[in-house]
Homo-oligomer: 311 residues x 4
């Protein structure tokens, strides 16, 4: 049975028809009109209509950044879009005449990895999405963990350092401030400004302009073997490992999946994370260590996961 | 249908026949011969035989401190007993001729609270047992979370302070070092030694002997209104609140249950925890706060929970 | 004997003729042309010429933000002005035909407090200037401590929190990020954004615009008894106390002077600092606690101190 | 002119006649009767009498662990000896009929390095004695810094980690808990207990008994190239570097001397310290880095320094 997955990002609405093996059989996109909830919904409906003209589908799954109620029908709060307590599923069902479920985008992408990607062998999966921010998804015994109000999986806001770096969420020392694309770039700029000689090749690669340092540049240099860029990504990975060690004390996963833009660095990110994790997880001599894997589903994970959750 | 619950502690094996409403209808005890796994098992079998003489039971649930495999049959490692990779369920089944399941004791106690105690209304429960150490149990959507190898719920060993207090587990800064009965007493002694005037009544109550300060004394004084003892327990609670804030970012529970010996301090412990939690949990303005409750099942929670898990 | 003190700030050059009791007997100002070292020096020379027309002086002392060499003649680096390795004393002596000494502005202000202000009884003074940033000055046995390269007294950049808040200096967790006017305002804004109800009166006083919260507004509200503003300043003071506790372990001062714009909050700042200090200083039962005092010399401390150092 | 230096340790009183170039021309020892102040003083007097029989001396300098008043006559508190507010100089002058000054032992040893050892070129010396604990001495512009009550130089009790490891002084997170012989051994034992494979050679060298690991064993293995032992000492050094970075922000020394038993590891300790320091000191691009040196005066530094201070 086919279903439709929708991934509402900050700039683009990506929509696809997905089969039961997680393959996208048709897709389309619309631009995201961020300021108007009704326009976003109209865009989604229009794209769904285009795809349902040629495909019979059982339902629609929508992934969006933000907090989604545990009943998967209401967006409580979406920081980058205009939704506040928006009954998104009901509004869309009105427009598309199909059953709709809504899910947090990181949860949808995690679900895709669990069902079709890097964690198909997992009983208990932890997925970390190291993009601009830090996203997370948890699957335990085949169940996606949403929590009482849909707020579960906010790995970004576990406290890594008491009284540490201020976070946009209003707290101090959130893990996201230490392991995310934003943290990577900030750390690079700060170290460059303080004259760290290890970062001179990176500054040179940015045309001598420290403010032009960005994540892809760091990743590219790291893959070319630049010690400064490798060190920056390893530091990020080390923090990731510490964070996962605390999560593993709580949940004991058997597979840890790392995705997101920074995961393009591959083992330059994952190996330091894994090594730090194995040093910092409790009862390391007694437990089986989880396996670590890079995400495999790529940019379409959100579509595929959302579609699968709609079935 | 009746079942038997067994709680193997450091000094005593407590065994009870439990009905489907979580009531203990008969019970007995044996001393714990800590040094010999076979003697412990013989003691359990003997107690079970005593109780099954008068009651027909469906099975036996055993709770013990330590890491229990996810299949609930093998004790991987029990720090205070002599078990290492012990096939406890199989050994006991041989002796008692009944189906046996094994569970971590904090998990068993947490399950009792979820089924019959403070969290019967919960969809997603987090239980914290603040005794000598810090135990934890997690129930999500009605499922006790054990993790891949039975190592889940080790809240004690989430890292609260990077490079903080050394923990018996070999790591630094584990939450247990900041919020447990041991931490309470150590903190009291250290502050007393450094001459903190706020602790003078506590030292006086210990007969002037700082080394005689213990947890029950602190709790008693706190309940009598002594500001120093109240401050010590509030500090413990504050750390508990921080820890739960990180857990809530991950799991978003709707009920937090606080049990264990230190929970005898009641709201003197829970209120500071709750207040700190509400300040330190992410997205506090958008989420529904969990309710906090004191454990209700008392010392027999382990028996009741283990028995219920055996059904 | 009279001497001249010069205080080069970001917007204004303040110049005064100072007598041996630290009294300013004549003064004038010029605007600071920040982008051109020679224009700044010309401005200083012009102001000195105006004052020496009517007063006979022994020399000129110049205070400026930045790192001044231990020989007090060269500005190594001035973050907000255009000087880099500038032989300021020699350049000015050429222009004003008087002996010139250069000093870090916080050192100059501290020296004024030691000689004529809040610390005239001190043998060993620590001064903290809590303004936009955090400045410091140390006088031990009557000697202003400059260090090998004039870099002493940079209290701002002691590490208060490992891996803490990024600092403009390129490090993480510098004390200035926790106790300075900038830290005060940032903390207020973050807490307001996260919906802290305690800060509602402050937001209201800022006309409902969180971005309009500034230091004087917080101080004013605190002095009017607003609990939120008092809490913000007390938190700043608490960090100040921790920092001074580490410094006292090293230097054991007998007087701690607190100045700068935030010190307008008076005991709302100093009392929390002193209390935290007394809890966190080592050997508290054995040592004599230093006395804490508010700075008395006001805005002209820099002029008076620089002039006195020129004698 | 000759003078006598006395070093009162926990087990031995070492006494020497010292010339103006810091050479010991005669020496003797007595055992330390720790429980009786008068017996200690009698022992000192007896040893002094033995030496003054053959040498004419100008005075006696006494170094002892503990807090010595700024007038250098009274021992305020000596943690390992029986002195509390003891007028040691007056008592001894009565017995030996020579002028006596008393000094903290780390200060005396630091003074010896400054006058005759590793820091004769220094204008501003910081000395760190990494022995069982962590001692310190500060010389600025030729003046030994004692502070208002003789409590200066207590580098051990600067706070390195907020809420970190409890310290014997009653505080948490003191630097001594991270960089001292005691910290080295504790860290080794903890890591060995948690099964760190890197430490297996060390455990083997201790005969398989983790409790027999001690500082000299770690140092010896490190010098033989064992990666685990090298890592342990490097970690200690790294913390030393962080601590010195905070001190340098305050005092800007030009020479850092590292002594004490752990300094037997030489550059295995100092290089990691220096490297971490240079990364973590503020304004690193603008300041001249201090030079780092190993102490040269050995075990007699206390005698030589105390004797020189008596002149």
């Amino acid at each position: 049975m086919l279903s439709i997955g929708v991934d509402i990002g900050g700039t683009k609405i990506a929509v696809g028809v997905v089969d039961e093996e997680g393959r996208i059989v048709a897709s389309t996109t619309r631009r995201t009109p961020a300021t108007d909830p009704e326009l976003i919904e109209a865009g989604v409906a229009d794209a769904v209509a285009e795809l349902t003209a040629d495909h019979e589908v059982a339902g629609v799954g929508v992934g969006a950044a933000g907090f989604v109620d545990a009943d998967r029908r209401t967006v409580r709060f979406a920081p980058n879009l205009a939704w506040r307590d928006r009954a998104l599923a009901a509004e869309l069902e009105e427009l598309v005449r199909l059953p709709v479920v809504v899910e947090n985008d990181a949860n949808a992408a995690g679900w895709a990895e669990y069902r079709f990607g890097a964690a198909t062998d997992a009983a208990h999966m932890l997925m970390l999405t190291v993009g601009t921010g830090l996203g997370g998804a948890i699957v335990l015994d085949g169940q996606l963990i949403r929590g009482a109000g849909g707020f579960a999986g906010e790995i970004a806001h576990m406290i890594a350092v008491p009284d540490g770096q201020w976070c946009g969420c209003g707290l101090r020392g959130c893990l996201e401030q230490y392991t995310s694309g934003t943290a990577l770039v900030r750390s690079a700029k700060r170290r460059a400004e303080s004259g760290d000689p290890l970062l001179e090749p990176l500054v040179a690669a940015a045309g001598g302009r420290r403010k032009d340092i960005d994540g892809p540049l760091i990743t590219t240099l790291a893959q070319e073997g630049d010690p400064g860029a490798i060190d920056l990504i390893a530091d990020l990975g080390s923090w990731l490992g510490v964070g996962v060690a605390s999560i593993a004390a709580l949940l004991d996963p058997d597979v840890v999946v790392v995705g997101g833009g920074v995961a393009a660095a591959g083992n330059l990110l994952v190996e330091p994370a894994r090594q730090r994790f194995e040093r910092e997880v409790t009862a390391g001599r007694h437990r089986d260590m989880p396996s670590w894997a890079l995400a495999r589903m790529g940019n379409t994970a959100g579509i595929v996961g959302a579609a699968d959750l709609a079935r």
